[in-house]
């Protein structure tokens, strides 16, 4: 067993593929580990998944802990948590990163509770830094950075006294590194030992839809919020997105209002996007939303409230009603494409 301190990543997978978020976090773990001289360890649970270990290594892991067992075929809280808890107690990782997916958010708190360690949900940044409290300085802690208190605040959370320092991060927040086929790593098999209670839950059936929403790769996103007046007006966003070859996004308010499904939500608890153009229609711009889109190359904000925070990060500010402004943009684009056709 390695004596080196470890940064762990929980490796999720479906249909024989490692989840993007797990590879993104492997890349982030590599950066953190390089600063500290630690090793990056992927925790891979499943059945017949040994082929996935190399993918994890090629994205930055030094070691993969492979727990392969029929009881681990489908994700279940207690069987997966048992492997993590047993191995973490044995190996004492310093840091443990988990994707902010439905399974990751089911798994992480269960494990954190058993290990009695701190866990920070939906971090938007992770750094290494110090922390001083009551004249005691803790060196090289994981700074877990997330929007907080429902307001315009960014909190840096630390866990000075407990290990591992656990954090979940949503898909798309960290950048996925390119695979390096020349990277070598160790695949270490671990044999899970379950307790009877770990098998209390059976999965009777599982239906997974392939998501048709491709926000992460969209070059243009037209997103609506509470300032969109009703589902009919929201349809204007779809028209504009179609014209621009983009996708429709939404703030949480628009999802809660039932204008569009949750899969379109952008922000801390939705998707993180970096399109070429982001049109924020009637989105006031709470920090949670901005966390998911503020790296867009160009932002157009449309809002009746001239003090909406979104205007402060927008490149084009339009103080006006979404129902009036969007049709103007649509009309301009339609006329341009007609002019183009005539010219050809």
């Amino acid at each position: 067993m390695s004596e080196q301190k470890q940064v762990w990543v929980f490796i999720e997978h479906t249909d024989g593929q490692v989840a993007d978020v797990s590879l993104e976090l492997t890349g982030k773990a590599r950066e953190l580990a390089d600063q500290l001289g630690y090793e990056v360890v992927g925790l891979l649970c499943g059945h017949n998944v040994d082929a996935l270990a190399q993918d994890v290594i090629q994205h930055g892991a030094d070691r993969v802990l492979l727990a392969d067992d029929p009881e681990l075929d489908l994700y279940r809280t207690l069987t997966y948590a048992r492997v993590a808890i047993t191995e973490a107690k044995k190996r004492q990782p310093e840091i443990f990163l988990i994707g902010g997916t439905p399974n990751g958010r089911d798994f992480a708190p269960r494990v954190a509770s058993a290990l009695r360690c701190g866990l920070t949900a939906d971090c938007t940044d992770l750094q290494i830094g110090d922390y001083t409290r009551k004249d005691v300085t803790y060196k090289n802690l994981l700074h877990q950075i997330r929007p907080a208190f429902g307001g315009n605040l960014i909190a840096t959370i630390v866990n000075p006294n407990t290990r591992p320092q656990m954090a979940t991060v949503r898909e798309g927040v960290m950048r996925k590194p390119a695979a390096d086929a020349s990277r070598k790593g160790v695949v270490e098999k671990v044999t899970p030992v379950f307790e009877p209670g770990d098998l209390a839950l059976e999965v009777l059936s599982r239906q997974i839809r392939k998501s048709t929403v491709k926000l992460k790769d969209a070059s243009v996103i037209v997103a609506g919020g509470a300032g969109v007046d009703g589902a009919e007006e929201f349809a204007l966003l779809r028209d504009l997105a179609n014209l621009l070859g983009g996708e429709v996004g939404a703030s949480r308010a628009a999802v809660d209002a039932g204008y569009i499904e949750k899969a379109h939500q952008i922000g801390q608890t939705g998707s993180t996007v970096r399109p070429r153009l982001y049109i924020a229609a009637g989105i006031s711009g709470a920090i949670q939303h901005r966390a998911g889109m503020d790296q867009s190359s160009k932002i157009i904000a449309i809002n009746t409230d001239p003090n909406a925070p979104m205007f402060q990060i927008a490149h084009y500010r339009i103080v006006g009603d979404v129902g009036e402004v969007l049709p103007m943009i649509i009309k301009t684009l339609r006329e341009r494409s007609m002019d183009q056709r005539e010219a050809e």
């Binding site: 809280t77 997916t101 439905p102 958010r105 089911d106 992480a108 708190p109 269960r110 954190a112 509770s113 009695r116 701190g118 866990l119 949900a121 939906d122 877990q144 907080a148 429902g150 307001g151 315009n152 605040l153 960014i154 909190a155 840096t156 959370i157 000075p160 006294n161 407990t162 209670g197 209390a200 839950l201 999965v203 009777l204 599982r206 239906q207 997974i208 839809r209 621009l244 809660d256 949750k262 899969a263 801390q268 608890t269 153009l277 006031s284 709470a286 190359s297 160009k298 932002i299 157009i300 402060q312 990060i313 490149h315 084009y316 500010r317 339009i318 103080v319 006006g320 103007m328 301009t332």
Partner: protein, 301 residues
């Protein structure tokens, strides 16, 4: 032959600032939030959890006990729970609980649920809107040593000591069967919470914790002393029990700030980077010019 027996549920709820309705007035000029301007509400998904427990009681019989940890004013959501049909409610309040992170909170809830005892199901909302962590449910399940079904959307059946439920996942759904007792976290698509019953509201409108007695007596002067009101409420089963840290037997080092492994290192006000920005008038001409500029920069087209 399946065995169906009454199901005793404990529902964990939270009073939260209504962060969904943040408006311009709530945000101060310096970018901070004026929390006082936000009304305190029943955490929305906790209402879905309460509704699921009440539906289980309607189907199988049993009881519904609602617990909240918070300041005395959180008694408001317990009264609301009574109006909707909860059988028992408990307020966990103690200055020593203050500053708890999710781990310390789950430890307190574990002890409260164990003090209630004799439970088949523990239910709570998937997450609270003031933090969105979705951690307290699974952490409480782990502390209680019971399995968890997160994102529960439908209870299909409860029989032979097992619950069959459908879970809503981002990308699909899953049907699971789990031994009781277990903990469910409930999503907002599970149901439409029933409104308060007018009859229960009439019967239970005086339900209160002691710190609310002065306000009640101001409205109902016939109760001349707190003691008189207390005796009346006790006789009519309207006294909301209040449990402290000592009442539930928690260890000092495991609650509140001391029991919280996470610490806030610093809080930064978000300084919005001033971007090179242009104000565009909401007129067809100005918008056409903006589109032309975007086309010129190859952003569009």
């Amino acid at each position: 032959m399946t065995d169906s027996r009454p199901i005793h549920s404990v529902v964990l709820v939270k009073q939260v600032p209504d962060t969904h309705n943040i408006t311009g007035e709530v945000m101060s000029k310096d970018g901070t939030m004026n929390r006082g301007a936000l009304p305190a509400i029943f955490n929305p998904e906790d209402l879905n959890a309460l509704e699921m427990a009440l539906e289980i009681k309607d189907r199988f019989g049993g009881t519904v006990t609602v617990i909240t940890m918070g300041p005395p004013k959180a008694a408001g959501i317990l009264r609301d729970s009574l109006f909707r049909g909860a059988d028992n409610v408990v307020l966990l309040t103690d200055r020593k609980f203050a500053g708890a992170d999710t781990l310390a909170t789950s430890y307190v809830l574990q002890h409260a649920v164990q003090k209630v005892g004799n439970f088949d199901l523990v239910l709570c909302g998937r997450q609270a809107i003031d933090g969105d962590t979705a951690q307290v449910g699974p952490q409480t399940a782990e502390k209680l040593g019971i399995p968890q079904i997160t994102y529960a959307e439908t209870v299909i059946d409860i029989a032979d000591g097992k619950i069959t439920a459908e879970r809503a996942l981002d990308s699909g759904s899953e049907i699971v069967r789990c031994k009781l007792p277990c903990l469910l976290t409930v999503v907002n698509t599970a149901n439409t919470p029933r409104p308060a019953s007018v009859r229960l509201q009439m019967e239970r409108k005086l339900a209160a914790v002691p710190s609310e007695y002065p306000a009640i007596r101001a409205q109902w002067p016939e109760f001349e002393t707190d003691e008189a009101l207390d005796a009346y409420l006790a006789a009519h089963d309207l006294k909301i029990p209040v449990w402290s840290a000592d009442d539930i037997g928690t260890a000092e080092g495991s609650i509140g700030l001391a029991g919280s492994p996470t610490q806030v290192h610093k809080v930064n006000f978000v300084v919005l980077e001033s971007t090179e920005s242009k104000t565009i008038a909401p007129t067809p001409e100005a918008i056409a010019a903006m589109v032309a500029e975007l086309v010129h920069e190859y952003i569009v087209g």
